[in-house]
Symmetry: D3
Subunit: 251 residues, 6 copies
């Protein structure tokens, strides 16, 4: 039994609220236990310099936490005048993950900015951000199709993420909350598509290590968990889920 | 009649949700029409260098907008590596306003950080932030009293803010939304206490000017509006409102 | 009687020296008591990106203090690598004020940079800066007209500023020196045109508040003071004062 | 056959030169094919604020490239005034990896700074940096033991890293050079101990994905490759290799 | 004959006004032709970390130009967020030069900050700054002695600076104005004491070179010029000049 | 006799290794005693904004030290977010020196970036950098000629640098190592061409001064030393040395 009473292979309660704020092309509030992240997808009609004139688009992500999203207040990165390494690492991960399931040629010369702002943190903010960012991006793209701005849906597959870990007793756990994450020997973030493919795996044992067997246990746990998350995403997306090519094949 | 059907002296629909997130000592979501600001008050057990050893506290505010709080996405200040002049101006205003109604001696050597993060903007974000920040701060202080951390309530008066303006037809308007604000000739922000005193007035006619008569019209409109806002604050504060010295006298 | 022997409604001795340095299109040293500010207006033949191709101009201001303009030396903002909030607030105020009395269409695609550098500070630096900046800007514009670079004078009205306040005894004071400013309960900066219109009012009671009556007393005191300052400006401008449309009506 | 004639499971030629420069406590030049990284370990007699007074040490890494380590010159991060996200990600990885095999209690209140400076880049700079950093750190620690500064060797295990990937034909490749890395569908960095344990795995398919089978193929290839790298490290370390507890058991 | 009618060995008209502003311990406006520099010496009762507890003082300089000190407006270094290389080079030179004639032990644990702010530039700003900075520093030190704060005058010698150059015709010129400096093949800045010793020489032929003979001609011209500048400094210092040990010997 | 057994007029052992790394157009490792500097010349097919469209090129230099090039580790400038004054001073010196012997018209619209990275420091890093930078630049230019990219060799003369100084006993010393440099009263850096002309001399007596006689002694010592360095450069350049116009005349 876990600190919050969950089974080892049980996700936290997860909700995905769409149209959370009114301005963005896609706006989502994802809640995973006590972790809450606003994921806003903004469509801009230009691309970064390295892509100009190539007729294809770009998608990039930014990640931040409100100063008091955490138990202790953190100084704002804008006040410090620089973005922390952890933040950069996370926003690079989110952007990379999204690029694995989007056909940038179909987007035309547009950039999608996905802003993931954590308003309350309790572990797993980066994986919640990826899961929510996918929904926000899909909504933004679906509306570009609806409005006739682009011809075809650029999203090629469903995409979701979760974390798994090994606690001090050696048990593999799904979807770690902050307390579990702090005490875990190993922490592994997984991003997968709905075709059972890995997009990204990042496993790290700070001051600890893990065996091939433990890795396999974690990967299996995470793979099952992500399947459930795809259901939450499909519910949130409604009709839009059907526009995703890969998704069609699996429903 | 105004663009959104309001009367000239009518506030937008305003709600103040307390305990919006779980970590801060005081956490509020204030909604004024389509403007939404999270106001979190954090208590830290130390003071800035210039106050060390003096036995008194400090209160300071920070203000920010999510990149897509607005119709067009704004670049994050953390990415730019510096805080914009507008942001600084606003957070200095919020801090100054709060300091007018808090007895820093009663706070002891503590700093209250008030973070005002706009998640959706439709005009009047700075005045909504002040109104919400006051509620978050009061809750944080009341809990310090409840927990026996400090002896007496340091809040001396209720504090609220609104904006007033003059439109192109020369009418004075209360509580401008973004569209009205963009077209107004004059924009005046008012911060008042529940003893009918001004804490701050900032009136500005970018590319326009205003007469003494117009100023008086605006001040009267704002004074009435703020009285209504005090009622919303008292509802949100519940019992805690009674701990405010000045407030007791006026109910 | 005030600390320096002035009457409540008496300005400090004020001088405006033109052509103070040789390079700028308009260069002024304004002295208000012991406050001394160099105000240089520079004309540049381009506009910021948001105005390109619109055929109109822009005016913007920057404000700084020499490190030892004050009793204690301040660290240079260039050494700290960022501009302080107070500086930003002041330079935004100066720019906004000037834009209220300049017809940017008549300026053509030009930017006027007004640099206000305080070489000695004794209170009221921002209002002295506005008063001096107006003279420097007017000279720069008048010379553009003289040289046939632009057809018509873009300055539409005289513009000047002063500060008023309430001391601890409750008296309203005109043109506060540093010592008075430090002890004042309320500080109000006023910017007006020579048509008796307000351009900007910023009143603030840090750790204090003020009533509507006190506000009116201060506004009246300031209005009278600013009328005198217009005379100093007209003397400094000489012939150039007659080029100002609004000014003509009032001489 | 690969572009440079290697077999799929063949490492590039790897050399580890110790005492490369004279000042650092441990100094190594590691060459992996055309990739060359200087790894310098510096011992400093203090710890970061969060560890002060706890009697234990810290180890941290920094990573950089000479501007012309690459085919195209890159702007220096010092000129840009900020450290790139990629750099932060890499130096955080190196530091985390080293902390998995060092007993910080045995180090006492000391910080080991490991500077990894790439002077020539041809793919795999981060894994070469980890492999070299381990040797430099081990030498620095061994000398602290030799000099009687600390009592016992704080290094608990050998540590090395390599990259594996999947090319466009679907083959798993060991130790990718830059050309292979640019064309690979999947790139996986592995850090392991000499007890066959994972310290860190980071697999990413930018614009591609990978299956569980492909992951296992890559992990097996990498595990074999890293075993060979431990031999190179032992040769470079000489006697010092025997001071490593975990290493003793495996020779 | 030179562009401004001077002889090759003739200085520009030079004046040194003391007590230019009221706050600094030593305040000077030096005018050399059309070059005008405010030099303010501020005494602070602490030293930089590397000198703490050693019982000796420090002297350092900062240099800046008003944005419109020059024919074209320059962007403020505070706006750019960094200090230019030229500025750093100059302020390091001024500080080094002053340290050659001050006995830091006699200063006690104090720092003298010398701020050199160019309000109008016409060539030779760095050498004018050194000459003026010496006077401001001497006044500040003399007042510390007068006030009994320190026992003995820490200034050991007079110090002054000038520039010399070679024009396109090969003539050596003393004290170059901006136009001459721009056209010169060689520019040499000299700092000397009143005992005929060099403190600093910096000669540079950007896109040109110079012979040993030309160097000697320039050095002789500069040595004569600096002798005259010492007279201007002694006039400005009045009685204070007699407190300088080295100076006594030479009057 | 000197601390390392050299005669007063004896250079340290100097080697210049060409093609040190594979990517740059010119790559050199220069070793002067224990000082080691990598000098890489990169050719870029564009020029800075101020030269665009003028048909001529530019050459600029950057200088840095690895954090542990010195006895104590230095914090990286990229971590501090700004380039130190010393670094700026040195890289400006290197760039200026190189521009004295390059005909920028012959280079066409190209920029040569010369990166001087000190991997081990023992005094004289800036002069070693200039000597090495000249060789790297010459190789890069010679290859542009060889490849037919430009028509004629833009290098007009050989260029080399060394340092001289006066020790506490008053002896003039050639090519100071770090220990000598730290104890020297005077330090003079000289840059010369192979036509016996000065390009740059920078002499400084921090907390000391020097006479005209001492200056002449130093200049003579340095002039002789630099002649020897030209021989090392010619050996390193081989055939390429003959492409230098000025050099031809002197062999």
């Amino acid at each position: 039994m876990r600190t919050d009473g969950r089974r080892f292979n049980q996700l936290r309660e997860t909700t995905i609220e769409t149209d959370f704020t009114k301005h963005p092309e896609g706006s989502v509030l994802i809640t995973v236990g006590d972790t809450k992240v606003i994921c806003n997808a903004s469509v801009e009609k230009k691309v970064p310099p390295f892509l100009r004139g190539e007729g294809k688009g770009w998608i990039t992500a930014e990640y931040a936490m409100l100063p008091r999203a955490t138990a202790q207040r953190n100084i704002r990165e804008s006040s410090k005048g620089k973005v922390a390494g952890r933040t950069m690492e996370i926003q690079r991960l989110i952007g990379r993950a999204l690029r694995a399931v989007i056909d940038l040629d179909k987007l035309g010369e547009r950039t999608i900015w996905v802003d993931c702002d954590v308003i309350q943190a309790d572990g797993g903010t980066r994986t919640a951000a990826i899961t929510g960012a996918f929904v926000a991006t899909t909504i933004a793209c679906a509306r570009l199709v609806e409005d006739g701005v682009i011809d075809a849906m650029p999203i090629t597959n469903m995409l979701a993420a979760t974390s798994v870990g090994i606690n001090e007793q050696g048990d593999a756990l799904l979807d770690l909350c902050y307390e579990e994450d702090s005490n875990a020997d190993v922490d592994l973030n997984m991003v997968m598509t709905d075709e059972d493919q890995f997009v990204e795996i990042q496993g790290s044992g700070e001051e600890a290590t893990f065996s091939h067997t433990q890795l396999n246990d974690m990967l299996q746990l995470g793979t099952e968990g992500i399947k459930t998350i795809f259901d939450y995403q499909r519910d949130a997306l409604g009709e839009y889920a059907n526009l995703i090519k890969g998704s069609d094949n699996h429903d």
